[in-house]
């Protein structure tokens, strides 16, 4: 019941932030209404970074402590982060097509983001291929630490290389920044998506804890 209430509150929050993004934030002059994709695209990208950062923290923690809880948090954060990066990879081309005239180009930012998604798909595949729990947790933690190296590359790619992708408007230094009402709409959207991130992370963590109980019970049943 508690989780249903949380989901309903979150739904209302997300719906109202989307309403604010459409009605309160002004229409951008050069791109027009298509720029409204910015609010979900960038907020999902930052939320994905938070999820992958959580996965990295859990992976490092597992390597040093070998606590199963760190492994559960690692896999939960990887899967939730992958969901957010999928939204980024779908909303990006929808935005790019009318603005650039193409759906996709293999520039540094787009390629590295695509690779980021593939790395975390590999992380989950690796886990499904190893049956022994301790070995699975250790190997995936080491792979997860390696996979996280792509996150700073994605973030800094538009600063380090010339790309088709626009230069940063958030934390982009002098000359960058958002119109005040756009900033409010963006921050509200990011806040709502962070709430969604926490809800999904919590649910996925509980699922992994339950899976561990099932594995333990299976071993117990086999011994008998």
């Amino acid at each position: 019941m508690k989780s249903i209430i949380k989901a309903v509150v979150l739904f209302v929050l997300i719906a109202s932030t989307a309403y604010i993004a459409f009605n309160y934030a002004p229409i951008e002059k050069s791109m027009g209404v298509i720029q409204k994709i910015f609010y979900i695209h960038i907020a999902c990208a930052f939320s994905a970074f938070v999820a992958f950062g959580t996965c990295f923290y859990a992976n490092v923690r597992y390597v040093f402590t070998r606590q199963p809880k760190a492994d559960w948090l690692g896999v939960a954060a990887a899967e939730v982060g992958l969901t957010f990066i999928l939204v980024v990879l779908i909303s990006g081309p929808i935005w790019a097509h009318p603005v650039w005239g193409i759906w996709w180009t293999w520039d540094a930012r787009l390629t590295l983001t695509f690779v980021l998604g593939l790395l975390y798909v590999s992380y989950l595949l690796l886990r499904s291929m190893i049956e022994e729990p301790d070995k699975r947790a250790l190997f995936s933690a080491l792979f997860g630490i390696f996979a996280f190296l792509d996150v700073p590359l994605v973030y800094f790619s538009i600063r380090w290389w010339r790309t088709q992708h626009p230069q940063p408007v958030i934390l982009g230094g002098a000359g960058s920044g958002l119109e005040p009402r756009m900033r409010v709409a963006y921050l509200l959207m990011w806040g709502a998506l962070t709430g969604l991130l926490i809800l999904l992370l919590n649910a996925r963590y509980k699922l992994e804890a339950l899976r561990a109980s099932v594995e333990e019970l299976r071993r117990e049943a086999e011994v008998q």
Binding site: G32, I34, T83, I90, L200, A203, A221
Partner: protein, 47 residues
Amino acid sequence: MKNLDSVLAAYLAGWAIFFLYYVSVARRMSSLRDEVERLKALVSKGK
């Protein structure tokens, strides 16, 4: 308004992905709960 359909498509795709993911987690959770009950019964029968 030009490109409004693209904006709606991007938002709907985003919400659909999150919704489907949440449903997938809930379904996996429910199937694991059933498995826990089944295994608990099996273990207690064996004792």
